[in-house]
Symmetry: C2
Subunit: 392 residues, 2 copies
């Protein structure tokens, strides 16, 4: 008997380690409908049927359940001069639910916010960390979340947290040294406390998600570089977050970026500086915010520009192999614009273009985030959007 299954794979169901039931298929299709309305804007049931490949009957059914949950509403009939019955437009009710998001990237303060589904920040709350670590830090975070949940004026879809450290997809913090969290099931614990779905991810990853969803991403591969106290990266590839072997993808801060003999274009970076990790010349020793400030403090603008450009070139050299290998279409910088968005960025882009194939680099962008300070917050919100509704 010849096997000629044409398989007609739908969406290449990943992770062959988990069973898939019809109900999961339905959840997927439901997400797809929501996703389409979310990104392509309002449309009729018939539009959705055409876009998804499902029948109008099924779409009606899915839409009914989405309306029952208050996620979708009818917006009235379409007013267009086409033959046939005009469809009734459907749209996502971005105002009917809210999301609580917290950004833990800052060592001093926990920044929280209530957002609607469009990513708009509605309210903010901040808590001083005051050096708290371990359980005390968890308690402070819990209190902040409670406060935010109470402040929400609509049903809260879930809570999203972006935190430094290595975090697995289930929201377990494997290690976050600056909070002294090790092997902490943060999502589960917070979820139990709050009675809400909680999603936790690395802050660079949430930043990448935020950029991918809200920041006019071009759809291709995306790398977001977060420059703060340290340097991290989040990568969205083929429409999903790259997790990596031990969920530690994006740890770009401790790649060697400065060698003994690096004194490019007469702007010497000096000897490779010692790094907290015990080695010398890590990217963090030149690109982190403290390092950049140390390097430019007291210099006149033109000298500072030269120093920043030298760092930019080192960044370009480090990124070139990554951009090439992954065929990324965008690299986005997050951090203080006055340091990053000038000679540094320009030098990095130029270096990147010098060092990669034109095919790759000509279509590539290296830009600042379009989300400003709230990148991590909206990213944490996307985490919820993605986790609860399947919308990315």
């Amino acid at each position: 008997m010849t096997v000629t299954r044409d398989t007609a794979r739908p969406g290449r169901l990943l992770r062959p380690t988990a069973k898939v039931l019809p109900e999961h298929a339905r959840a997927h299709n439901r997400s797809m409908v929501l996703q389409h309305l979310f990104h392509a804007g309002p449309g009729s049931r018939a539009d959705l049927a055409r876009a998804t490949g499902l029948t109008r009957v099924t779409i009606s059914d899915l839409v009914a359940s989405l309306m029952a949950e208050g996620l979708v509403a009818e917006l009235g009939a379409r007013a267009e001069g086409r033959p046939g019955k005009p469809g009734t437009l459907l749209g996502v009710r971005t105002d009917a639910h809210q999301i609580v998001a917290v950004d833990l990237a800052d060592d001093e303060r926990m920044h929280g916010a209530v957002l609607d589904l469009s990513g708009t920040v509605l309210q903010r709350r901040t808590t001083r960390v005051d050096g708290r670590t371990g359980t005390a830090a968890v308690d402070a975070l819990t209190a902040l979340c409670r406060d935010l949940v109470a402040a929400a004026t609509r049903p809260v879809l879930g809570v999203g947290v972006g935190s430094p450290g290595v975090i697995d997809p289930a929201g377990r913090v494997l290690q976050a040294p600056n909070r002294q969290w090790f092997d902490l099931p943060l999502a589960d614990r917070l979820g139990a406390e709050l009675g809400l779905p909680v999603h936790v991810a690395n802050d660079a990853n949430t930043a990448a998600l935020g950029e991918f969803t809200y920041g006019g991403a071009s759809g291709g591969g995306l790398l977001v570089l977060t420059v703060g106290g340290g340097v991290g990266a989040g990568i969205v590839l083929d429409g999903g977050l790259v997790q990596g072997h031990e969920h530690a993808a994006g740890e770009i801060g401790h790649v060697t970026a400065v060698d003994e003999r690096d004194d490019i274009d007469g702007a010497p970076l000096g000897r490779p500086l010692p790094c907290a990790c015990g080695r010398r010349g890590c990217l963090e020793t030149v690109l982190s915010v403290p390092a950049l400030r140390r390097r430019t403090d007291g210099l006149d603008p033109s000298a500072a520009a030269v120093a920043l450009a030298a760092v930019g070139r080192r960044l370009g050299i480090v990124l070139a192999p990554v951009v090439s290998t992954l065929n990324l279409s965008e690299v986005v910088l997050t951090g203080p614009g006055e340091l990053l968005d000038g000679p540094l960025r320009e030098a990095a882009l130029a270096t990147l273009q010098e060092r990669t194939m034109p095919v790759v680099s000509s279509h590539m962008q290296l830009r600042m985030t379009s989300l400003g300070e709230d990148g991590a917050l909206s990213g944490a919100a996307v985490l919820v959007l993605s986790g609860q509704l399947g919308v990315t």
Copy 2:
């Protein structure tokens, strides 16, 4: 109405652009069963039920369909001293079907083979290319495939082709300059000619798949570097192949690897050499087989070792950011062992370890392929295995 869907995501259905029907769910579950038998070895229906989370009833049903297609067979009862009825062991019939695979990496010859499902090569055929390009090359390939299909002694599951060039997941060759193929729907065309499912992918990607499936991969991220006339890379991440923005991921050969001032440890690489791409100092100018031979020809062994180590260090420097960023667990080299598997590999590994975090590099391997010359062939076979049966 509060939305608190606990979603209980199964395997995070990717690609939210395609509908999923119950039959797809079944195909997935079927694949999962097959995959388990394939990798974990024979087991009873009850074992499968425990491993997959499906019920014994469903497993029995799936197994029945797999047995009807001749993919699985009962091997007899388990002989073990446990209380209860002993289960009947099931195993994949790796000999009941065959796969035709073709490797187009070589410019001179097309290498084809018939393999069984365990990846064992049963028969080989080779065709001279004789400079044929375009349609003539397609015809030669078609003839080779016909020959192989005729040579198969069991039903052929499908045809897998690994080819240089940029190839989309549907098996359309977007560009393969050395064959003068541009925007060629190779998989569809071959499939129509042969009446069999055909899968086509980039040769580095097939090599990566082969390594991932047959080459004792550790399960984490994997990068396979193919060193031949050029240099390419295939990456398996989170259990799947990385496609990249324009399906061009893995184009690592044209990253700048040699700068003006690079003369590490007294083993000068000389001025950056001009590259076919029009720039200078690309990785290919030092790491491709011709480049390596040029560099070592006529040297005595110790001098050759020094030269190879210098290249290895450049490779380490290029790979360090990639390995760090993606948190890869393995880098595998494919190509002539006498050039790669010595000073070059050792220097690359050492450099990689110097330039990345210990957390990343200490668990990392840099090794030669364990599949020898047939890496690309068995990779192409995996393409079929994966495409037709969902086994990876």
